[in-house]
């Protein structure tokens, strides 16, 4: 799809989220709720005694059934539907021909660790903090957006072999 049309569609989805639920979109938040739910299942004592995890279980709350975790499940379904409609469903690894698949995996893993860690600190990622924040004129949204893109440009030279 033409990027400007896809952007318009994304903007309308975000607007629908504000009109229906009074909030923006998010992705890293749902991951946090999944981890919290998993820790609560595996080691309930640890979850109840930790000041971080325990707040997500207070008053019988279920982190796996949080708005953000359900939205994350929808994101997975929506991506799959789009891929199916456009004939893009295929198991593959994408990388520059200059690097090995294993190298791609190492950096994909590290990138995931850093991105979601940073998103927890900044209370949102590109969607939850930057995009949704900008749509409600939040200063935090604009600052986070500039920090993410500025930093990626700053580090781009060091990791160019991964992509070009």
């Amino acid at each position: 799809m033409n990027p400007y049309w896809a952007g318009t569609l994304l903007g309308l989805v975000l607007l629908a989220s504000m009109v229906l639920s009074g909030r923006g979109l998010g992705a890293s938040g749902g991951m946090k709720y999944l981890v919290v739910a998993a820790v609560g299942t595996v080691d309930n004592d640890h979850a109840q005694n930790s000041p971080f995890y325990s707040k997500y279980f207070r008053e019988g709350k279920k982190p796996a059934l949080n708005w953000l975790s359900i939205e994350l499940a929808g994101l997975l379904i929506g991506g799959f539907i789009s891929g199916a409609v456009s004939g893009r469903l295929k198991l593959k690894t994408e990388k520059s021909p200059k690097i090995k698949t294993f190298t791609r995996f190492i950096f994909a893993f590290l990138g995931g660790v850093l991105f979601v860690y940073g998103a927890q600190l900044a209370r949102g990622c590109t969607s939850g903090a930057a995009l949704s924040g900008m749509a409600v004129l939040s200063v935090a949204g604009f600052v986070t957006m500039m920090a993410i893109f500025g930093s990626a440009y700053l580090f781009a030279w060091f990791f160019r072999k991964l992509w070009i």
């Binding site: 979109l25 799959f80 891929g83």
Partner: protein, 200 residues
């Protein structure tokens, strides 16, 4: 009149049904934008593909303008819509860490989920890293709590900070976005890499 779930005190399960459908729309839009390809996303930082900027800013101005218009006509009560709170240090340092993760991993969390949904194995590895990152944050929280809460400014709005009305700021942002689109189109021609963009 919105936000519907808050104003009409709808039961929680209906809000969760909204969440599911909003998520489906979100994933569909990201995938249609071409965001299930890491090399396309990374192109933003080398100039050969600027789809990220085009989609991101189009979405931001559509949602922002739409919300302002709906609020003006009384269809949306913006005081009931969540506004992200501003913790200066956390927003900047968190953003810098995210940028490093972006250029190493090639995805942000939303595009990573979307790419994994159509079968990109590198995206699945990225998401495994993402869950690990969320776990590490939870476990290291006692040490990072002070930094996370430093310089709290509340839910400040950028137009208030600049002393502008929301409408004037929105108009300025639309003009800025159009200028950025023009620059992005120029960059794509200047830094074109046909061998990459034809694949993704």
């Amino acid at each position: 009149m919105g936000p519907i779930a808050t104003l009409y005190h709808l039961p929680e399960w209906i809000d969760l049904v909204f969440a599911l459908f909003i998520g489906i729309g979100f994933g569909f839009a990201l995938e249609q934008a071409g965001f299930s390809s890491s090399r396309k996303l990374a192109g933003m930082f080398y100039g050969y593909d600027t789809t990220v900027l085009k989609v991101f800013f189009t979405a931001a101005i559509v949602a922002l303008t739409g919300a302002q218009v709906l609020s003006y006509f009384g269809f949306l009560d913006l005081s009931l819509v969540y506004v992200n709170e501003y913790y200066v240090n956390a927003a900047i340092i968190g953003g810098i860490i995210m940028g490093a993760g972006f250029i190493m991993g090639g995805f942000c969390p939303g595009t990573g989920v979307c790419a994994a949904s159509i079968g990109k194995i590198d995206a699945m590895v990225y998401l495994f890293g993402g869950l690990t990152g969320a776990f590490l944050f939870a476990e290291t929280y006692p040490w990072i709590e002070e930094l996370a809460g430093k310089n709290f400014k509340g839910a400040v709005k950028i137009n208030d900070m600049l002393g502008l009305s929301p409408a004037v700021f929105t108009l300025l942002l639309v003009i800025a976005a159009v200028c950025l689109f023009w620059l992005a189109e120029k960059a794509e021609k200047r830094f074109a890499r046909k061998e990459i963009t034809s694949e993704c």
